[in-house]
Every structure is written in C-alpha cells, then in structure tokens.
C-alpha cells in the first residue's frame, strides 16, 4: 500500500505554504470579521518558514520532520493558531517518531496526535467554533476509511470532504474561545477562520497524495 514518505511530507508542507499565500486575503478577512485580522499574515509567515526550514533538512524520519515543522512554526508564528498547530505538530511527531513512511493507518495515527495536541493546549471541544470543528470530522473520516480499507488517496479525499462539511457547519456555531468569543452571537453566520485553516491542511494533504510525489 502507498505510503507518505519524507519527500512527500515535505511536499505537503510546501503545498500548504503555497495554499496559505493564495488564500492570504481570505484568511485576513475572515479573521478581521471576528478576530484581529492577522491570520493571513501569521499563516503565510509561519508555513513559509516551515517550508524553508524543511527544504534544507535532510531527514528521512517522518516523526522528526513533523517535530522540526512544529518547532519552526512555534517560533515563526506564535499566534493562537500558530501555537496550536505547533503543539499539534510536536505531538504528531512524537506519535510517529522513527517511521520512514505513513500509510493510511499511519496518517490516522498522526492526525489523532495532532488533534489531541490542539485539544490539550486549547481546551476547546467540538462545537466551540474552532479549528477542531474541521479537524475532528476529518479524523473520524480517516478512521472510517481505515476500517473500510480505502486507498490512501480515497481515504484522504474522504477526510477532506468531512473537513469541508465541518467547516461549513461552523457558520451555525457561536465562538467560545479566543478573540472571536468577544463577538458572541455576532459570530453566527460566519465561517470560523481557524476551522478554515484546518480544511486547508486537509486540502494540501489531498493534493500531495493525488500528486503522488514522495509516495513509496
């Protein structure tokens, strides 16, 4: 079965960095509406730094690559989203330390640690209108795909679909955390900026496995 290896993981972070640049204004606007408007800035800066740091990082252990990404992100984008994602990446790195590649089950294991890291640091729960609301559905879809023994591409596609649906559902939620919480009921009808980032992560992952680069 196909595996995501070091080159693939690096390609993923590169694609994610490009995606953030392409969607910078969208993130800025979403965060300006119910936050402080810096998300476009922090995400492009943060993942730009990650992608750059990984370019010269000759490591084949996917765990170490994830940890490196987390540490770089923590320093480059110490915002709420940056720190949450960094914590998630550090945990994910721990969870898959020593591996040379991740099959669908490995990806699910990694995503689980990633999401748990974010939960632990942020103390939010699904329904609170945060990044968890796109990532949890993605994680569950990925688990389901494993049970159904789908292919890597189909599994990640299912996760991405779930993330997009979860993201859409944030419009019905009221923000409970961070700067958005001050906006209270006024966050109704608006898509959560952090959950949008969660969906982008799945989107970049899907593009990576579809491309097939770095898949062994």
């Amino acid at each position: 079965m196909a595996e995501l290896q070091a080159a693939g993981l690096k390609a993923f972070f590169r694609k994610l960095a490009e995606l953030m640049v392409a969607r910078k204004d969208e993130l800025t606007e979403l965060d300006a509406a119910i936050g402080d408007g810096d998300l476009g800035l922090t995400m492009t800066k943060g993942f730009g730094a990650v992608s750059e740091a990984l370019a010269g990082f000759g490591e084949t252990d996917v765990g170490k690559i994830l940890s490196k990404a987390g540490a770089t992100l923590a320093a480059a984008a110490p915002s709420t989203m940056g720190t949450l994602l960094a914590t998630g990446l550090l945990r994910a790195g721990q969870a898959v330390l020593g591996r040379a590649g991740l099959d669908l089950a490995g990806l699910a294991q990694m995503l689980e640690a990633f999401v748990e890291g974010i939960s632990a640091r942020g103390k939010a729960k699904p329904g609170d209108k945060t990044i968890l609301d796109s990532l949890y559905p993605a994680l569950e879809a990925l688990r389901g795909a494993c049970e159904q023994q789908l292919s890597l591409v189909d599994g990640v596609a299912a996760a991405y679909q779930a993330a997009v649906q979860g993201l859409a559902a944030t419009k019905e939620m009221v923000s409970q955390h961070g700067k958005a919480a001050c906006f209270g009921e006024r966050t109704l009808g608006r898509q959560d900026p952090g959950a949008t980032v969660g969906a982008y992560i799945c989107e970049a992952l899907l593009a990576t496995v579809q491309d097939g680069e770095g898949l062994g």
Partner: protein, 335 residues
C-alpha cells in the same frame, strides 16, 4: 497609512533598535534576539517579573521593564504573541534564583505560549507562577472575569508587584499582591477611530468620523453595544463609570486610584477633560481619589479613544503604588 516607518515587516525590530540605542544603560536583550528584552542589571535574589505580548501598545508591555517594576519582556509582532522560546529565554535571563512571576494579559495566544514557556522553565529548574490581567469589564459579564481581556489596568499589577519584588518579597507574596491588584481593578474603554497594522496597511475595522464604540478592546475587539453616535465626553464618562462602579462594586467610602489612558491619538487635553467628569462623579458617589494617573499607558498605535481604570486601594496597595519607579517609559517619584 499615515505612519513614520520603513518596511512594514521591519517595524518591530527597528523600533527595538531605537529603544536599545536610546537607553543602553537601562535595557538590553538576550539570546541574540532583539525581542528578548531585559533589564540591564538583574538583582540576585530578587523575584523576577516577566511580561510579554504583541507590539503596538507602547508603553505596554516592555515600557514597564525597569527599576521598581518588571525585569523582562518578550516582544511579539504587532498584535501577536511572542513565542514560547522567547519567553523562556527571558525567564532564564531574569531568574535571580527566587523564581519568576509572569504577568500578562488574558489573550489565548499569549496564554498558550506562556504556559508552554512555563513548562519548559520548570524543566530547567525555574519556578514560575502566573497572574493574568483581565480588567476589561466590557468583554465578559460579571462572574466570568476569567474571560475578560487584559487592558490598561495591568499597569497596576506591574506597579504593585514590581514594588513588592524590589522590596524583597518572595514569589508567593509577590503573586499574592499581583492577584490582589488584579482583583481590585476594573477598566472600560471607548474607541473613536481604528488603527492600522503596518503589515496589513489598512484598518481591520471601520469607525467613521462622528462614531464611537464603547467597550472596544485594544485590538479592535467589539464592545457590548456596538457602534453608536459619538456622545459628549461627560455622557461617555457617565456610561463607562456606571459599568465600572457596578461591577466590583465600588461603594461609598472606597478609596481608588484612577487611570485615564489614551489609546494613541487622543490628546492629553481630552484625557483631562475626562478626568474632570470622573472626579465629579466619584466625589458625588463618596469615593475618594488618590494618585490619579493620566497619559498613555496601553495604546493601540494611532487609535483615537481612551480607557478609564479604577483600582480600589487599601493601605497595602496604596503604599506599593506610591513607591518610586524608573523605566525608560515611566518615571515616578515617591508619592
């Protein structure tokens, strides 16, 4: 954008270069990182006091690093938290062997990073305690103080804890006093114009000429009632004070310190005009004012507007507040 800057992305570091150039005898940086800002001379044995937060609020946060106040500050990008790594570097640099107290504002990004830094400091054998400023009455109802934003009132936490630490109090005692200040301070703000983050280049929210928003936070977070037609200074003070007084509550016979804080573009003339009304209302309520502070203590760059903070005093807080302080941004003789 009406700003005296070079490249927007250099804004924070060039500002820091200016500060280090202007005050080389008072402050410096560690870890080879301009954003790890510390006092030049660390007193061995003294409890270390650290803060940190986004840039764009001068004199908040780094401006309170100096004699009689804080020892170090990690400096973030505009309106962005500094990193846990930077906080850790500052923590290590200012630890005089008696532990370090973190005092910072109640913002998710900062909390996450300071928590991470505290975990890492513990690994290095440094005891860290934390007190989070949450004085903004407008940001969450009474009973949910833990959800409230930290704004200008944090000045009092710095001043009180700083004076205690300078006098040799231990970590538990400094923390107790910072908590006491935190529990006794309340703030309300009003904004009259937006501000512009240099790297964004346009306001992230609109406030037209002739509009105001009471309760707006220092990053443009919304207030309780949304935008309204600009009222007179007296009406605005009455509305803000009513919310503050009811919240603690402050009552007849109390003694308070008042802090009238300009958000950036508001002239001192207007701050004194606000104080005039505050003084009238408090006198009528039978509340005595000692040690009023007026000026810019926590800004949002060029935002127009102001905030009013009240600290309820007792003998202990009063005597700590009266102690001298001397930083590049704040000088006070013994009161």
């Amino acid at each position: 954008m009406r700003k005296l800057i070079n490249r927007p992305e250099d804004f924070v570091d060039e500002m820091l270069q200016g500060i280090y150039a202007a005050h080389p005898d008072k402050v410096t940086y560690v870890n080879n990182d301009l954003r790890c800002y510390v006092r030049k001379h660390i007193k061995p044995g003294k409890v270390g006091l650290a803060t940190g937060g986004g840039s764009g609020h001068l004199p908040l946060f780094l401006g309170y690093v100096g004699e009689g106040m804080l020892d170090g500050c990690s400096v973030g990008g505009v309106f962005q938290s500094p990193s846990a790594e930077q906080m850790l570097a500052v923590t290590k640099a200012i630890d005089g062997g008696s532990g370090v107290l973190y005092i910072y504002g109640n913002y998710t990004g900062d909390i996450m990073n300071f928590d991470l830094a505290a975990e890492l400091a513990a690994v290095e054998g440094i005891t860290v305690e934390t007190v989070i400023g949450c004085d903004d009455v407008a940001s969450a109802p009474k009973g949910r103080e833990d959800k409230r934003r930290g704004v200008a009132g944090i000045f009092y936490l710095y001043k009180v804890a700083g004076a205690a630490a300078e006098a040799g109090a231990d970590l538990a005692e400094v923390k107790r006093l910072a908590l006491k200040a935190r529990d006794n301070v309340r703030t309300m703000g009003v904004a009259l114009s937006p501000c512009v983050i240099p790297e964004i280049g346009k306001p992230t929210f609109e406030l037209a000429d002739g509009e105001m928003e009471i309760g707006m936070g220092i990053h443009g977070e919304p207030g309780v009632q949304g935008k309204a037609k600009l009222a007179t200074a007296d009406e605005i003070v009455d509305q803000m004070l009513a919310a503050i007084l009811a919240d603690l509550p402050f009552t007849r016979g109390d003694e308070v310190s008042v802090l009238i804080n300009g958000l950036g573009a508001t002239p001192k003339e207007e701050l004194y005009l606000l104080y005039r009304r505050v003084h009238q209302v408090l006198s009528a309520e039978g509340i005595a004012v000692s040690y009023p502070y007026l000026g810019e203590f926590a800004t949002s760059m060029e935002m127009a507007g102001a905030s009013i903070s009240l600290l309820r005093l007792d003998d202990e807080l009063k005597s700590l507040l009266a102690k001298p302080a001397h930083t590049p941004f704040f000088v006070q003789h013994q009161l």
